[in-house]
Symmetry: C2
Subunit: 125 residues, 2 copies
Amino acid sequence: MDTTSRGAYTIGECARRSGFTMDTLRYYERIGLIGDIARTTTGQRRFNDEHLEWLGVLKCLRDTGMPVEQMHRFATLVKDGDHTIAERIALLEAHKTAVDARMADLVAKRDYLLGKIDYYRSVAP
Amino acid sequence: MDTTSRGAYTIGECARRSGFTMDTLRYYERIGLIGDIARTTTGQRRFNDEHLEWLGVLKCLRDTGMPVEQMHRFATLVKDGDHTIAERIALLEAHKTAVDARMADLVAKRDYLLGKIDYYRSVAP
DNA sequence: CTAGGACCTGGAGTGCACTCCAGTGCAAAC
DNA sequence: GTTTGCACTGGAGTGCACTCCAGGTCCTAG
């Protein structure tokens, strides 16, 4: 019952596919956001499709403004197994709430911006 | 033909009203984002309603992710008078475009998040 | 076989946008 | 008129999230 982790990507390939830089990938590994990266006998990393999937999650969290520390907490929950699912939901929900608030604020600010632009247009030479 | 700049707020009052910290206000003055702040004979700043309005603009730009350098450019345009209006419009439009892109991305990422939450709910104990 | 490129590590450095501090001076309330 | 608090300056420090570097190894195309 192997979860068939197909694909064996060098860090460069993984960077291109995930949208992170190689440096960021190494950094994320160092701080514990990515675990269990295989190595060749000579020490090179080999990422697989599971990593790419996980990186997709991380990218989503990061790009929606989650601080690295919270991502780390989430990573820990995932690593700790199924009994943490309720907590994972709670974390993601809290984050979703934050994202919603951020979006609402953005909408309001964008309207303000539009008003400003319209004003300038109305007085433009 | 005085533009009736009513109100005379200490930096503390201005901070409370604008949502910036006192330090940030001083910082913004230093780097040229806020100009013409009156001083009492003893050197204390006295902000007025025009400043508050301008700070509202800055807050909008900042909170929508405009880098300080661009805000500075905008401030310069405003200071340079009416013949810069076209350029101001261009700057704000470009920023609006960036905000729109950011919002679209946020919507997509939020959906992904929702999917993740739903998935966890579906496998929750 | 060799030249060029990809990858390795640990640690130092970067950029942004503040934020804090020491030491000092004014203000406002009692 | 003194205590408590707000404000001043210049400059140093912070926090976050990377990003870069030196000095080395490895891999692969020709």
